[in-house]
Amino acid sequence: MNRKFVKPPSLRDAVTHYCSGCGHGILHRLVAETIDELELREKTIGVAPVGCAVIAYDYWDFDVCEAAHGRALAVATGIKRCRPESVVFTYQGDGDLVSIGMAETFHTANRGENLTCIFVNNACYGMTGGQMAPTTLIGQMTATTPQGRSPKAGEGWPIKFSEILASLEGVNFAARAAVSSPKEIIKARSYIKKAFSNQLENKGFSIVEVLSPCPTVWQKKPYEAMKWIDEEMVKTFPLGVIKDK
């Protein structure tokens, strides 16, 4: 049988550990497809985060480096500066990139490191049991905001970090997409391709934020979780290109 829909070579033939309805599977695939389309597999070095995607190297079939929680872009800086000929990207969640790793993220972007950053925003800490993330929405219930996130209770506001990064001179491209519908997935794919192509053209730092469902923590069915992205998350995190130098 001639199969039309096949696994990209950069994805391993593996069963993932992700929960039903999780967005990581889609996003792993989008990254792998892009790398294969641009024929970069043999020169790619990925950096895996700490969080749900900690073992992303079990699913991607190219060189991958571990990073301590939040330090992915520091690790990526070390790799890329030593091997400018390699294509280096990080894949990080909201806790990793915006909370514990904010300094590394901000300064890597500000140095204009020629890197690609894939930022997975699911508005919670999935791996550790659903605590509040820096991107948790106002009123959103999590394990550590049982009454819903409240700025009045000293829990702060969701951080729109892609917009903040876009204000830096070193950032070439910043965009926000979602994996909530085929239409948005296609857009996400095009942003990811742009972010990798920029690196090939030595344009500096590119970040693609992707709103991604976490049905387990959100306590929603997979379909409802997708709907929640489209109806609620996008109000705080509007989709589209934020900066394209």
């Binding site: 950096v47 991958v64 790799i79 300094a103």
Partner: protein, 353 residues
């Protein structure tokens, strides 16, 4: 900088930085902290001249994680700091040890705990020789007693790191870092074994299966297997890499044990005691981990009394006690930038006789 054999006047910090360049260090990242600032300053200038990488990182955390990434590509990588900054790097050092990556870390020790002060100190001995970060691991630790030895030990450290795939610490103190003296650079390190090819390096999966640099072993039993492999490695290092030196120890009855700048001061005390017809000698550990217990035990056989002198409240003292159970050991230590002088050592030894 000229490479032909000649003595150069430079600080210990500069000598160690320059030695890293001569050892082929391709990547340096660091964050300013006294008393090691001459290292990043020297590297900023020289790495550029050599078309290599220098980055002033936004923090010590970032610097050590940049080193993690650089080391993962197979490049020789260095970071340096002083005590409080080294505490911040410990998470990264633990990851580097777990992922079995080679890297060199220079600690020019200052007074602690906390922000402490910027005086010379040897109070990071425990941290350095007992792993330092979380988890079951050790790192080789080399302690220079001069600017020149700082240079040769940095060159050795890169070879040890590559050979054993481990982070290696240079444990200097503020006096060694700041003191200027003549430095003769060795043309290469004293390490004689052939260095293995870096087949594990992340260079892109071309013509080989993908390489993964990681310290994470989630499956039941996998981490235990990994850590047992590490134990085997630490065992080999313990066996092969003990280093020490002595001064007038052959016929000594009274043995002073000190390292780093404190050993320089102790030498003077040995001479002064000898001048008073007291057969004193010095044992100087160069590798602090592995502790040169075998060398010490050999010398200590004919020793009547042992004197441990440190710029700390007594940290290396523990290793001396472990190496020489049952021996009478006296301890003289000063802390917080206090440095036991040769007069204090002479007085201390004579009082104990």
């Amino acid at each position: 900088m000229k490479t032909k054999k000649e003595k150069l006047l430079m600080s210990g910090n500069e000598a160690m930085a320059e030695a890293a360049i001569r050892a082929g260090c391709h990547f340096y990242a660091g964050y300013p902290i006294t008393p090691q600032n001459e290292i990043p300053t020297h590297m900023a200038k020289r790495m550029k001249e050599e078309s290599r990488v220098f980055i002033q990182a936004e923090s010590e955390l970032s610097a050590i994680n940049m080193v993690f990434g650089a080391a993962a590509t197979g490049s020789r990588a260095l970071t340096s700091s002083s005590s409080p900054g080294i505490s911040l790097k410990q998470e990264g050092i633990s990851y580097i040890a777990g992922a079995q990556l080679p890297a060199v870390i220079i600690n020019v020790m200052r007074g602690g705990p906390g922000l402490g002060n910027i005086g010379s100190s040897q109070s990071d001995y425990f941290q350095s020789t007992r792993g330092g970060g979380h988890g079951d691991y050790f790192t080789p630790v080399l302690a220079p007693w001069s600017a020149e030895e700082g240079a040769s030990l940095v060159m050795l450290a890169f070879d040890l790191a590559d050979y054993y795939r481990t982070p290696v610490l240079i444990l200097a103190d503020a006096i060694i870092g700041q003191m200027m003296e003549g430095v003769d650079f060795p043309s290469k390190s004293e390490f004689k074994k052939k260095l293995p090819p870096k087949k594990w390096a992340l260079t892109g999966a071309k013509g080989r299966p993908a390489n993964i640099a990681k310290s994470f072993f989630l499956k039941e039993g996998a981490l235990e297997i990994h850590n047992e492999k590490l134990r085997e490695k630490w065992g080999k290092i313990k066996q092969n890499e003990q280093r020490s030196s002595t001064y007038k120890a052959e016929d000594a009855k009274y043995l002073i044990i000190a390292y780093g700048s404190q050993a320089r001061i102790a030498c003077e005390a040995v001479d002064r005691l000898r001048g008073e017809n007291l057969k004193a000698g010095l044992f100087r550990p160069i590798s602090l981990w592995p502790y040169p217990a075998a060398g010490l035990q050999k010398i200590a056989k004919n020793i009547k009394k042992i004197f441990v002198v440190e710029q700390s409240l007594g940290q290396m003292l523990d290793d001396v006690k472990l190496a020489l159970p049952g021996k009478e050991i006296k301890f003289l230590g000063r802390t917080g930038g206090g440095i036991p002088s040769s007069s204090e050592i002479v007085k201390f030894v004579k009082k104990a006789l």
